[in-house]
Amino acid sequence: MSEKKPKNVFVNGAITSAFIGDSISKHSTQLKIGAHSIFLGQVRSDVIGGKTVTAIEYTTYNEMALEKMHEIRESIFSKYALTCMHIYHSLGRVAAGEISLFVFTSAPHRKAAIDACAEVVELIKAQLPVWGKEVFADESYQWKSNNL
């Protein structure tokens, strides 16, 4: 296990499209990159028992999540020939239509970027100690469950 301090991945509230655009533009000086793969999770306005989801509220076990994210990062970098990887996950309330997860991998060649991005998304869904509460218009809620 590396001694490096785990990098923060959490942001308060939704991840904006302007932030995503900026993240992309920062890579234009990385001249060895040939391919970027991006996954965005958007809060879906599901209708459950006649009630409509208006937001998801995310909570985490912060110290453990950052340590887990660090492990995921190390395993992905050892498996794929990536140039870089950036991961952001929302905490707190994210309204339907807004973005709560942003995974961004870059590599010289497309296969590494695409495969790494897809694998990171699966690892986050399965292993990251984060919980989503689906909040309905009347402020009642149900706990989200992930399809693995």
Binding site: G41, Y58, T59, T60, Y61, E63, M64, E67, H89, S100, L101, V121, I124, K125, A126, Q127, L128, P129, V130, W131, G132, K133, W143, K144, S145, N146
Partner: protein
């Protein structure tokens, strides 16, 4: 001994607090029994325990001041 208990996700609907110090036996199996007695709503609930930020798979020894997290299935993303 006293341990620090952290509660996450849907389990906060049963244990109405995110963090508390409680008396525990000296392993996770005995802690689980004690929690089921204190909070009958936990019966049949699916959750993992992490001790000092390590997910446990079998019964795990606890120490004075250990932090135990009750973690229902993750639903991030």
């Amino acid at each position: 001994m006293q341990i620090n208990l952290k509660v996450f996700g849907q389990l906060t609907d049963i244990i109405n607090i995110n963090e508390l110090n409680i008396q525990s036996g000296n392993d996770t199996d005995s802690l689980r029994k004690e929690l089921n007695t204190l909070f009958p709503g936990l019966a049949g609930r699916n959750f993992l325990m992490a001790v000092d930020q390590r997910t446990t798979t079998g019964n795990t020894i606890l120490n004075e001041g250990s932090t135990v997290a009750l973690m229902p299935p993750f639903s991030g993303g």
